[in-house]
Point group: C2
Chain length 337, copies 2
């Protein structure tokens, strides 16, 4: 099943069921007028949404609308929780290596995760406001899941039953603010402005074999100004699956339905275990500019790729085996705030 949230000038938007091919949509019933409300009562609501989804795919509903991703808000325009892991440890190791910092071995066994701001997300086709170009604006292409209610202390295997939906994320990061902020010891805050999510959120069953072992398998495409930046496989080199990430988040407290848990920047090693090559040299590229810049430092002694500036465009998408977009594209433009 595929779901999206249209802008209806309310804070939470209007939930619609979207056809599998993303061509059409129909409003969810009133008891699921927005996605948070649907997640609050999912066992009650889900059969209604599934019935609508089947009818929509069979072309049976009168009054369906064209589905226009540019009219969407993030599936949850505001959420009660956004906790982002860093499950592609390769990415962390590489960025640290480039700046000459060691990485503790424990990072391979104990997930990194930060508490992100969740009070307002950017629209999937909305602007990325940037107050100062020196903040070093970067994309981070990731996968995220939306959870059911999760009990504190749950184990990783059972935690996977709590995955209600999957989405793509652009976890916008301000690289220039990160070193100073992390040096203070309390984690990210100003360095992580609002994120954007894909227009469409998808139930796990919809993904078939691409969703297995708690990971989403498939190439996550990131483009900057129409140039492919990366297409790493989100199912490869993920050191912690979503069950482990959810269990980490829920170790000392429960998670409420509608919590969003992110994978961290998707990143693949090359065949020899080292950093992958850029797209221009036949590699799989990267899901953020920081990683590309780190590889440039390691290979050429200095970073060459600039961070994002006003006017730059970012596009993040995943295609299925038939070349069709699964989640719709995140397609944003940086604007001076």
């Amino acid at each position: 099943m595929k779901l999206a949230t249209l802008n209806d000038d309310t804070r939470d938007g209007r939930l619609v069921v979207v056809s599998r091919d993303l061509s059409a949509c129909a409003p969810a019933p009133e008891l699921a007028r927005n996605l948070q409300r649907a997640l609050d009562d999912w066992p009650l609501v889900e059969p209604h949404l599934r019935g609508l989804y089947d009818e929509l795919n069979n072309g049976k509903i009168a009054g369906t609308m064209d589905f226009v991703p540019a009219e969407c808000r993030s599936p949850l325009p505001r959420a009660y929780q956004w906790a982002d892991g860093s499950a592609y440890v390769n990415h962390v190791a590489l960025v640290r290596q480039a700046r000459g910092a060691d990485m503790p071995d424990s990072f391979w066994t104990d997930p990194l995760m930060y508490q992100g701001g969740s009070d307002s997300f950017l629209d999937p086709h909305g602007d990325i406001p940037l107050g100062d170009p020196d903040w070093g604006c970067d994309l981070e292409a990731e996968i995220a899941v939306v959870t059911a209610d999760v009990a504190a202390g749950i184990d990783a295997r059972r935690a996977l039953d709590g995955v209600r939906l999957l989405m793509l994320v652009n976890d916008v990061s301000l690289r220039g603010l990160i070193p100073g902020e992390l040096a203070k010891g309390f984690g990210f805050f100003q360095a992580k402005p609002a994120s954007a999510f894909s227009p469409v959120a998808v139930t796990p069953d919809e993904l078939g074999e691409a969703w297995r072992d708690g990971k989403l398998h498939g190439a996550l495409q990131s483009e900057v100004n129409g140039q492919l930046l990366g297409r790493p496989d989100a199912g490869a080199d993920m050191s912690f699956d979503f069950g482990q990430l959810i269990a980490h988040a829920a170790r000392t407290r429960s998670l409420v339905a509608g919590s969003i848990i992110g994978s961290g920047t998707v990143s693949n090693r090359d065949a020899e275990g080292g950093p992958g090559l850029p797209i221009a040299e036949g590699g799989l590229g990267y899901s953020c500019l920081a990683e590309q810049r780190s590889v440039e430092v390691l290979r050429h002694g200095a970073a060459r790729s600039p961070f994002l500036r006003a006017g730059d465009r970012v596009r993040i998408e995943m295609l299925d085996a038939h070349g069709l977009s699964i989640f719709g594209a995140i397609d944003q433009r940086v604007v001076a705030a």
Copy 2:
């Protein structure tokens, strides 16, 4: 005006207006059935709530109920944002001094703030579930404000206009998990389980002269097992006022209505500028066990006070000039999870 949220078996509870003396309450109108909804449309809703509040204080409403703090949930049982500052820099300096760590001078000019989990808060008179006594459970008594919508980049003076409500907080902390978690560099996560807020949230005008210069003035009383732990003045030694804290949170992104911004653990210096004495020696005491333990280390070479264990009780309250409770008490018991 005073507001509270009763448990009605919904996720957001039922908003009630509470009489000034906390003796009685009456349900808010349906357009403000819960506090988040009221905050979403505050300019529309506020006159209705104020009308009800005036009638309630004048004893004019038929069908008012006794106000029972034990039946309350946190005013926002779940929120879109909980960002906690560390504005009593004295507290930070002391805890660092006790463990032999320097504190950067910038901490006096650049607020520390962490993004907390906001998806579900404990009830004001609810249990504090503790999975493992070795986690080192501690209270942290603080002041918090609930904001209106706040624009990104706002200055500290104008940010104060965004204060809708004030509350007390018990920012439950797991001291045993903090060093390992902060060493990973991404800030608190597992070390900060769910917080609890006072039964009653109060508008700034209600506080009169106690709310001035962006600070709440008055003794914040913390008790552990019926013994007074501290009664520092929340208006003294606060290095950053709430305007500065809100502006810090909103430097690179907007804040949505209903965002909760905390002061950090309230802490006073003694007259000579050093750590204050414990209550037992005639001092103002402390708002968390970690600070008391830090002072014990500095004075006696070792910590003496244990952290909280199953069965321990914590009570946090602030009285007005007439000795009446302003916010009602946070009154919680630690239970083995």
